[in-house]
């Protein structure tokens, strides 16, 4: 691998908290690396452990659960 490693990160974000925080980060133009992809859920309680395991199975390099 000659290129710099660019990890694939899944982020499960609660609609009311972390997802709105991500929106605020956007509105405020706070910059962060583009590796993470948000999957919106209505509550972090929705995140079944299996989602996390499956994400790794499918090749994720990291999983963030943000409530």
């Amino acid at each position: 691998m000659t290129e710099e490693f660019s990890p694939k990160i899944v982020a499960f974000a609660c609609n009311w908290c972390a997802y709105s925080a991500a929106d605020l980060a956007g509105v405020s133009r706070f910059q962060y690396p583009p590796n993470l992809r948000i999957i919106r859920v209505m509550c972090s309680g929705r995140v079944n452990p299996n989602f996390i395991l499956k994400a790794f199975h499918m090749g994720a390099d990291g999983v963030l659960v943000a409530g």
């Binding site: 709105s20 991500a22 962060y32 790794f56 659960v65």
Partner: protein, 55 residues
Amino acid sequence: MFHMTQELIKILGIDPARVRLEWISSAEGTRFAEVAREFTEKVKSLGPSTLKQAA
């Protein structure tokens, strides 16, 4: 439950540092960006997931 997931991952040979649980309130835009940055760096430093290569 998150704890359980972390333990499982550890046994599966995946570094538990690859999973992270964070409470970020809706007013904490900076913290979201900070967590995103930190976590990306962390995962970068861990290198590609071994699981991926085996698969």
